[in-house]
Symmetry: C2
C-alpha cells in the first residue's frame, strides 16, 4: 500500500511517525493530511536506508536543491560534491537533473550517497537517449518514456516531475495567446516539440493510468511538471498557464483516487503582485495539493542574483501557502552552478522558506527568531553564531573586522555607541541579563 | 521658498523639471505631488552642483546607501571608496552616518565628492561630542543638538533623520509594553537615555518649530527618524511602534503647514505578513507622507545574509507603497561594511525596489523586464548582458564556464537541450528572430 492508501485506512505508518516527530506534530495530524492529499511523504518503497520527508499544509516549507550533469559538464565527482554541499547547507531534498555523461550511473550514485529524498525528471533522459537512438527527440516512443520512468522508480527515486498536464488544449491556447517567451520548461519543450511534430497527443496525458500504476507500485510521489510555466514576468498568469493548472487539477483528482500521492509544480517568473493569486489558484484548482514552486523569480533583470530574486518570490509564495520551494543559484540563466553557487542557493531558499513559515505560523518558526533576538539583546555573540542559519558565514564576516577601540561585546558598526548597550543603562534591562 | 511652498503657489521649479524628466512624468505631476506632500525633492538650497532626486507616490522607488566611519574604523579614504562603489552600483542617495574620526571633515568631503543627495543623522555627532565635552551623552544640551543640525544644513545636507517623534508618550508605552529588544535605533537610544536621565521631554519634540525653521531656511527634507522601530520580528507592530507613528503623523501635518518637506522613516525587522499593514498604517496616519524604510528584514536568523532578508522585505514594502528603501549589506549585525559589502547591498536593494515597482506599476518598470525576456528568447547574450542590472557580475559568471560541447548560443545549464532552442523549432518562432 502507498502512504495515501494506508492513511485512508486509518493506518499510521512508521514513515508518518518519523516525519511527525521531525515536524513536532502528531502522527495523526500527518495521517489526516496524507489521507486528504494536503500532505505527501517522499519515500520510495524500493529505497533502503533513506529518511522520509513530508511536504504540505501545516508543515515547515521544504527546500529542494537540484544537481546533475549537463552536456558541457559530465563529472560525477563534481555533482557528488554539490550533493554534499547542498545537504550540509540544509537542503531537504535533492533532484538529479543529469543530462550528460552516464545518466544511469550518476542517479544510482546519488541515491546511494544521500539519505535525503531524491527526485528526477525522467523525460530528460528519454529525450537524450532518443537523440542517440533515433537521431531526434521527436522520434522518441511512448514505450521509451514509460520505460525510463519505471527504471527511475525501480532505482528508488522518491518523487518525479512528469509533464502530464500538457495536452493540445494547453498548446493550442499557448499559440492563440501569443507569449513573449513561449515555453521555458525543458520537459515541456521536448514534449511540445514531439506533439507538434507527430501531431499526436502527449502520451503522459493519454496514458496517465499507466503512469499511476508505476507510481503506485513504488509509492513514488508524482510531481506534475509545470510544462507551461511563465518564463518571464510578462507571461505570468496568462491563459496558457491557467489552462495547464486546470488540467493539473483534474489529474490530481485521478491520482488521489488511484491511491497515488501527488503534488503540483509551479512557476517560474512571477511578479510580486501575482504571487498570492498564483498560489491561491493552484490550491483551489487542485483541492489543496501541495505546491512545489520552482522560483518564484520576481524580476527578469538580475542574472547573477537570481538566488535573491527567487528568495523574494519564494518567501511570498511560502507565506501564501506554497509547501516546497526549489532553490535557485546565482548561476541561473548564465551557466551550470558550481558547488559554491549551490551553497548560496540553498541558504537563500532556506531564508525564504523560513520567512514564509513565520508568516504562515508554522510551529517552531517564531521561536528561532526569538532566540536570535534574545542573543542580540544580551550582546551574546557566541549564542548569535550558534543560532545563525549559517554559522560559518556569520563568524567569518564578524572576524574580518573585530572591534579595536571598543569593547568586545559590541561590533564595529556602532562600537560602544551600540543602541543595545546605551538603552540597557537607562531602561533597567542590563545587557547580558535579559 | 522651499519646493513645497513653490509647488503650493503653482510654481514649477527647475528642480521639479529636472526630476520630472528623470522620472518620465510631467513637471505638473511632480508639482502636484510636492504640493500635496506625497512627493519630496531632495535638494538643499546651499548645495551647489548636485542633482536633485524626487521620492514619493508614482515615482521609481529609490535606494539609499549609508556610509561613514565608526569608532573602530575612522578612515576617510575607505568611506570615499564606499561612496564611489555605491554610486557606481546605482544608489540614488547617500547617507553619511560617521561616528568616528573628523566627522565634520568627512561630511564636507562626501558632499564635495558626489552629486547625489546626501543625508545625515546629526544626533550621532551631538552625542559623540557630548561625551568629549561633558563626559556623557546624557549631559548634551538642546543647544548642542540644534547647533549640529544647523551646521549640517549649512554644509548642504539634503535630508536629515531627526528623532522628533519620540516623547514620553512613546517611551512610557514602550516600558508598559515590554519589548524583546527595546530600542535598536541609535538616535532613539541616545535620546531615550537623555530623557530618562534628565527626566525631561525630548527637545526635538518640544522645540519642533525650531527644527522646522532650520529645515525651511535650507529646504532640508525632514526624515522623521524611527526611534522606536522594532529591532526583531517579535517586536513588530507593537503599541510603542504604533504610538510613534501617530506622533510622527502629527508632526508631518505641522511640517507641511510650515512649508517644510517631510518624510517618515520606518522599520526595521518586520515579518512578511506584517509588511502591508505596516506600510498602510504609516500612509494613513501621516496623510500619505513618503515612507523611507530601513529594511525591512523579514527574519532575524540570517546574519551574513541580511541583504537578502531585507531584499525580501524591501520588495514587499515597495510593492505596498514604500517610496525609499535603505540598503542593508551582508555585514549587518556583524561589523562595519566593506566596499564589497556596499556593492552587494546596493544591488540587492535595487532588485527589491524594482520588484516593488513592477507590482506598483511604476512607469517604465515592466519595459526593463520585457527587454531581458526578449533578449533571452532570442538567445542574444550580448543584449542580456547589456540589460542586466549588474553587467559586470553577469559577464563574470557566464564566462567562468562557457559551453564546450554545445553551441555558442546556449549556456552550460542545458547546453543544446535549451528549451528556447527546442521550442523555436516547433512553434514557428525561430530563436534569434523574435
Amino acid at each position: 500500500m502507498t502512504q495515501l492508501e494506508m492513511a485512508r485506512q486509518g493506518i499510521i505508518s512508521k514513515e508518518m511517525e518519523y516525519v511527525a516527530a521531525k515536524e513536532k506534530v502528531s502522527p495523526e495530524f500527518i495521517r489526516q493530511g496524507v489521507a486528504e492529499g494536503t500532505i505527501v511523504i517522499l519515500k520510495n518503497k524500493n529505497r533502503k536506508d533513506s529518511n522520509p520527508v513530508a511536504i504540505g499544509k501545516g508543515l515547515r516549507t521544504k527546500v529542494n536543491a537540484s544537481v546533475g550533469t549537463s552536456p558541457d559538464s559530465t563529472s560525477l565527482e563534481l555533482e557528488l560534491e554539490k550533493l554534499q554541499v547542498a545537504e550540509k547547507a540544509g537542503a531537504d531534498t535533492i533532484m538529479d537533473l543529469s543530462t550528460g555523461g552516464d545518466i544511469n550511473g550518476i542517479r544510482k550514485e546519488i541515491l546511494a550517497k544521500t539519505k535525503l529524498p531524491v527526485g528526477s525528471v525522467p523525460i530528460y533522459q528519454t529525450a537524450i537517449e532518443a537523440i542517440a537512438k533515433y537521431g531526434s527527440i521527436v522520434e522518441m516512443k511512448a514505450e521509451d518514456i514509460f520505460a525510463t520512468i519505471e527504471a527511475h522508480a525501480a532505482d528508488g527515486i522518491d518523487f518525479m516531475a512528469i509533464h502530464c498536464a500538457l495536452n493540445f488544449d494547453v498548446v493550442n491556447r499557448l499559440k492563440k495567446q501569443g507569449r513573449t517567451m513561449d515555453i521555458v520548461s525543458r520537459g515541456g519543450a521536448f514534449l511540445t516539440g514531439w506533439m507538434l511534430h507527430n501531431q499526436a497527443e502527449n502520451p503522459l496525458y493519454t496514458q496517465f493510468d499507466r503512469l499511476l500504476e508505476i507510481a503506485k507500485k513504488y509509492d513514488v510521489v508524482l510531481s506534475i511538471g509545470d510544462a507551461i510555466r511563465p518564463g518571464c514576468i510578462d507571461d505570468s498568469l496568462d491563459r496558457a498557464q491557467v489552462q495547464g493548472l486546470i488540467i493539473a487539477g483534474e489529474l490530481v483528482d485521478r491520482a488521489r483516487e488511484y491511491g497515488v500521492q501527488v503534488m503540483i509544480e509551479g512557476p517560474g517568473h512571477v511578479p510580486v503582485h501575482h504571487i498570492h493569486s498564483t498560489i491561491q489558484l493552484q490550491k483551489e484548482l487542485s483541492n489543496q495539493a501541495p505546491y512545489f514552486v520552482l522560483g518564484t523569480l520576481v524580476t527578469d533583470i538580475a542574472p547573477g542574483y537570481d538566488h535573491i530574486t527567487s528568495a523574494i518570490g519564494g518567501a511570498l509564495a511560502s507565506a501564501a501557502g506554497a509547501d516546497f520551494i526549489c532553490y535557485v543559484t546565482p548561476a541561473e540563466h548564465l551557466r551550470l552552478p558550481t558547488a559554491a553557487d549551490v551553497r548560496e542557493g540553498v541558504i537563500a531558499a532556506r531564508i525564504a522558506a523560513h520567512a514564509g513559515d513565520l508568516a504562515k505560523g508554522v510551529k517552531g518558526a517564531a521561536e528561532w527568531d526569538l532566540a536570535m533576538a534574545r542573543a542580540r539583546k544580551s550582546l551574546n555573540w557566541e549564542e548569535q553564531m550558534v543560532v545563525a542559519i549559517d554559522r560559518e558565514r556569520a563568524e567569518k564576516i564578524r572576524s574580518e573586522r573585530a572591534p579595536l577601540n571598543s569593547s568586545d561585546d559590541v561590533c564595529t558598526m556602532c562600537g560602544d555607541y551600540c543602541a543595545m548597550k546605551v538603552v540597557s543603562q537607562y531602561l533597567g534591562v542590563p545587557a547580558g541579563e535579559c
